[in-house]
């Protein structure tokens, strides 16, 4: 659960009565549904009791959880560990865990969760805490200089190419897969994510994808609806409403220029043209995925057989051109807007009516002090496209099924990985995997999904809305929000992050060229060709043959 979303409930003052009412709803729903929730409650299992028990620690709306709460949750979730590890089995084992300390989350929670595990198993864990900004440099330097000084690491899937691809991680034993119930993890985080060459390395603890956030008041405004009727370029949006394709996003963005809603200037989509340390490229990716990710082709950024960049193919160039075309209709300072600006300084503050982001916008709309759009924000998966580019045939295609949708599963969330340096010591290896499995446990994960942890839902079992409502969440809000996440995660044509070494180098160099394009220094095609040339250079520098192998592996080809 993102901190903001949790705080929303805290501020909303969810009471014990709300919680009980939610619990009653859950019971009623369960009783009514023999096939659905009945399966969950039918056995009146101890697991259900456990989940209800841990979700009361400290209780939604009862304030920020403390270290004592983390330890309580960790203690209650030790059952799975106890089934695989004898008490005191790891006495004398010392492990080092490297992770983040963003917003006093991540490692701070892991410490508390693992304290009871340490007490039970006899192992001891030493911690390396890193700020987000230091993480990449520390990890890359450790890899390059051969000084991996940690046994477990909290890591994002995009780094798997740099780490797993170089044989630095330990393969997950089968007992861990069983312990963490890997089948419960949402589709897009299933292998090939977390795997290399068919071997599994990652205990997933988080999920990430871009979703589409829009202003419900703007797209239900009667005056705009009236004006839309006489607007020429409707891009298939016959009645004024929420755009569902990028063509409609473009049309509505241009239409909204110069219009007003409730006395305020209205704007449409908010692009993020300013470089953002490589992460800004994800936002062009979200504009391009519906154009470039063909349902019959797993690849969308490079040709899988040659690593030839696709960034300069007609699909990506169209996405770049869309930004160029939309910018004049966006706020005057948009050229200096990075994703942080679009989400937190613009959209939340009431500027713009459409923005793409990770789940954080949804979790901030009602809780962020600067947000004025808490009651007028809706969520969906990314817009689609009327046609999709087929890189293999070199032609645009209109699918019989309708618009092509391809949610951008950007970054793929955090996972816990065990380093290969423990492999030579069986006891230490088992200890490291046991610790990772404890953190990625199914029951513990519902707690991290609901409470401030820095992690978003990532298991199918996290989308059991009555469980959230029973814990005290507002049903309408959580349903809309979770559905946008779930539908992105489970989409059959999701555009998956290419987990290859140096992926942020590709993104970073692209940002530099995109900045020039958006500043009007060159055309979309010319700039895209430059990006492609720079990407070819990076591929050659890192090693083309290996990149091809790893890119294919990352796509499960």
């Amino acid at each position: 659960m993102k901190v903001g979303l949790y705080n929303q409930l805290v501020r909303a003052g969810a009471t014990r009565r709300d919680v009980l009412r939610g619990a009653a709803s859950l019971a009623a729903l369960s009783a009514a549904s023999g096939a659905g929730l009945g399966a969950l409650t039918g056995a009146a299992s101890a697991q259900d009791d456990l989940r209800m028990q841990i979700l009361k620690i400290p209780g939604v709306g009862m304030g920020q959880p403390t270290d004592a709460d983390f330890q309580k949750v960790g203690e209650l979730c030790l059952g799975a560990t106890k089934a695989n590890v004898a008490e005191g089995e790891f006495a004398g084992v010392e492990l080092t865990f490297m992770g983040l300390n963003n917003q006093n989350l991540h490692n701070v929670l892991f410490r508390g969760f693992l304290k009871p595990w340490e007490a039970y198993t006899g192992a001891k864990i030493n911690w390396i805490d890193l700020a987000q900004a230091d993480y990449n440099a520390r990890l890359q330097q450790s890899i390059a200089t051969g000084t991996v000084d940690f046994d477990l690491i909290e890591m994002g899937a995009p780094f798997e190419g740099d780490v797993c691809g170089k044989g630095l991680t330990s393969e997950m034993p089968d007992w861990v897969k069983t312990q963490i119930d890997m089948d419960d993890v949402v589709g897009y985080l299933q292998p090939p994510v977390g795997t290399w060459d068919g071997k599994t390395y990652r205990v997933t603890v988080d999920g990430d994808a871009h979703n589409f956030n829009y202003r419900t008041d703007v797209f239900s405004d009667a005056d705009l609806a009236e004006a839309w009727k006489s607007h020429d370029d409707k891009a298939g949006l016959e009645t004024w409403g929420v755009p569902t394709t990028w063509q409609q996003v473009q049309a509505t963005t241009k239409f909204l220029k110069g219009k007003q809603v409730a006395g305020q200037d209205a704007f449409g989509y908010l692009d993020a043209p300013k470089a953002w340390g490589g992460f800004g490229f994800y936002f062009l990716g979200s504009r391009a995925s519906a154009y470039a990710k063909h349902p019959d082709d797993k690849a969308w950024l490079f040709d899988a057989d040659t690593m030839k960049p696709r960034i300069n193919n007609p699909a990506w160039v169209r996405a770049i051109q869309d930004v160029i075309d939309a910018l004049p209709s966006e706020p005057a300072d948009q050229l200096n807007a990075d994703p942080n600006t679009t989400a937190f300084q613009q959209f939340l503050a009431g500027t713009g009516s459409m923005v793409v982001w990770w789940g954080d916008v949804g979790s901030n709309v009602k809780t962020n002090d600067s947000s004025v759009v808490g009651d007028v924000t809706g969520f969906s998966i990314l817009p689609g496209s009327d046609d999709v580019y087929n890189s293999k045939t070199g032609a645009w295609e209109t699918l019989a099924s309708g618009p092509n949708y391809a949610p951008n599963c950007a970054y793929l969330g955090w996972g816990v990985y065990v380093m290969a340096r423990v492999d030579s010591d069986e006891k230490k290896k088992k200890a490291a995997w046991s610790a990772a499995a404890h953190l990625g446990g199914k029951d513990l994960s519902i707690w991290t999904a609901m409470y401030p942890s820095g992690f978003q839902p990532y298991r199918n079992s996290h989308f059991n809305i009555p469980e959230w409502v029973a814990a005290g969440y507002d049903e309408a809000f959580i349903t809309s929000y979770l559905n946008s996440e779930k539908d992105s995660y489970n989409h059959p044509n999701a555009a998956v992050e290419p987990r290859i070494p140096g992926i942020f180098q590709y993104y970073s160099v692209a940002e530099d060229e995109l900045a020039k394009i958006f500043a009007g220094q060159m055309s979309a095609q010319e700039g895209a060709d430059n990006i492609a040339a720079a990407w070819e250079k990076i591929t050659d520098q890192i090693g083309r043959e290996n990149q091809i192998k790893l890119y294919k592996a990352s796509l499960g080809m």
Binding site: N136, A137, Q140, Q141, I143, A144, T147, G161, D162, K166, P273, K274, A275, W276, G277, G278, P331, A332, D333, Q334, L335, N336, D338, Q345, Q346, A349, T351, P501, G502, F504, Q505, S508, V509, E511, D512, A515, K516, I517, F518, A519, G520, Q521, I538, Q541, I542, G543, N546
Partner: protein, 359 residues
């Protein structure tokens, strides 16, 4: 303590032998470790770290050898030797090693690791439009110092005059210098100058500029960055010039007054020429500060729009940190270092000649 000429030859030999022995051991360990790392031998240390201990031991042997061979003079050398050895270890060696890294193809994500590629990075740099663009930007940024100098001189004259609350203003004008450029970037660049709610943006709207987007066009973004940087560092020049003004001999000014010179004539005929040495020092130091410009650019514009505000350092930061391109990034930094050394040396020579001619 013995003078050199009273030291027995046997002790001198022992001292020389000690230094030679220590040097041979250090060299042997260095070569051996190099061969081990090149996988040409099977024994060696896992890391280069033990070489530091051998270096320290060599330093101790060198110090002892100095005393044994040179007596009192050797003791004197002991005062200097630790600092020299430390400088060699922490400045000279890293710089030389940096030149070596600059001649390697070293991307941290590369499977082949670090490989020597001679001057390839240099030739690549010559054709790098981003580096060239950043160099041109730096010339513009440096040229802006002339305006900063005029403002700083004006403020210094003002604060040197008999004005009310002079001490208060001196402290107030110094405040920007006390702030971190990153804080300035956030406070001014991303808050005061923010397009929607920033007070400066509102002021400009009130003044008639409908779309006060300070960082959205290349020209306005460059000017805005220069203003932010100037706001931070004008106080630095101002305080140096103020010190110069206060140290100026009163009798010269009084003589000018007696001769009937008005304020304008006094400034151009007396104050400005006498202030030239201080002015040049202030400007040269300011240029050195300016050549390091990075934090404000990185925080406020990330070099944009379209590279309009990019500085050499902010570009190297992206190349090195975001792209892990260590070899090329180091080459860019080393070439910039050489350019700065040449530029500042020439500047100092010209400045000295100029001051000599004028005064």
């Amino acid at each position: 303590m013995l003078p050199t000429d009273l030291i027995p030859e046997s002790r001198k030999r022992l001292g020389r032998g000690l230094v030679w022995l220590a040097s041979l051991v250090l060299l042997a360990v260095f070569v051996g470790q190099g061969l081990y790392k090149a996988e040409l031998t099977s024994f060696g240390f896992d890391t280069w770290q033990p070489l530091i201990y051998f270096y320290v031991l060599w330093g101790i042997a060198l110090g002892a050898g100095q005393v044994m061979t040179r007596g009192e003079d050797g003791y004197k050398a002991l005062f200097l030797l630790p600092a020299v050895l430390f400088t060699i270890a922490m400045v000279v060696f890293p710089t030389l090693f940096g030149f070596y890294i600059a001649m390697t193809d070293w991307n941290l994500s590369s499977f082949s690791g670090r490989t020597f590629n001679g001057l390839d990075n240099f030739w690549q740099m010559l054709g790098d439009a981003y580096y060239r663009n950043a160099l041109i930007n730096m010339l513009i940024y440096v040229a802006a110092i002339s305006v900063e100098y005029v403002i700083a001189f004006g403020l210094a004259l003002l604060l040197n005059a008999q004005i009310r609350a002079r001490k208060f203003f001196r402290v107030v004008f110094l405040l920007p210098l006390m702030l971190s450029p990153v804080a300035v970037s956030w406070m001014i660049g991303k808050s005061l100058m923010e397009y929607r709610f920033g007070p400066l943006a509102r002021l400009f709207r009130w003044l008639g500029w409908d779309t006060p987007a300070f960082f959205a066009s290349p020209v306005s973004a460059k000017i805005s960055i220069m203003v932010l940087d100037a706001w931070t560092f004008i106080p630095f020049m101002m305080i140096m010039l103020l010190a110069g003004l206060q140290a100026m001999p009163r009798d010269v000014l009084e003589a000018a007054k007696v001769d009937g010179a008005n304020a304008w004539q006094t400034f151009w005929g007396v104050i400005f020429p006498l202030m030239l040495p201080v002015s040049l020092t202030a400007v040269i130091l300011r240029i050195i500060f300016k050549l390091k410009l990075a934090d404000i650019v990185i925080t406020v514009t990330s070099g944009g729009p379209g590279g309009a505000t990019d500085s050499i350092t902010s570009f190297i930061y992206r190349e090195y940190r975001d792209r892990s391109n260590v070899g090329y990034g180091t080459m860019l930094a080393m070439v910039y270092l050489i350019l700065i050394i040449i530029f500042v040396t020439l500047l100092l020579k010209l400045a000295n000649r100029f001051v000599r001619n004028v005064t």
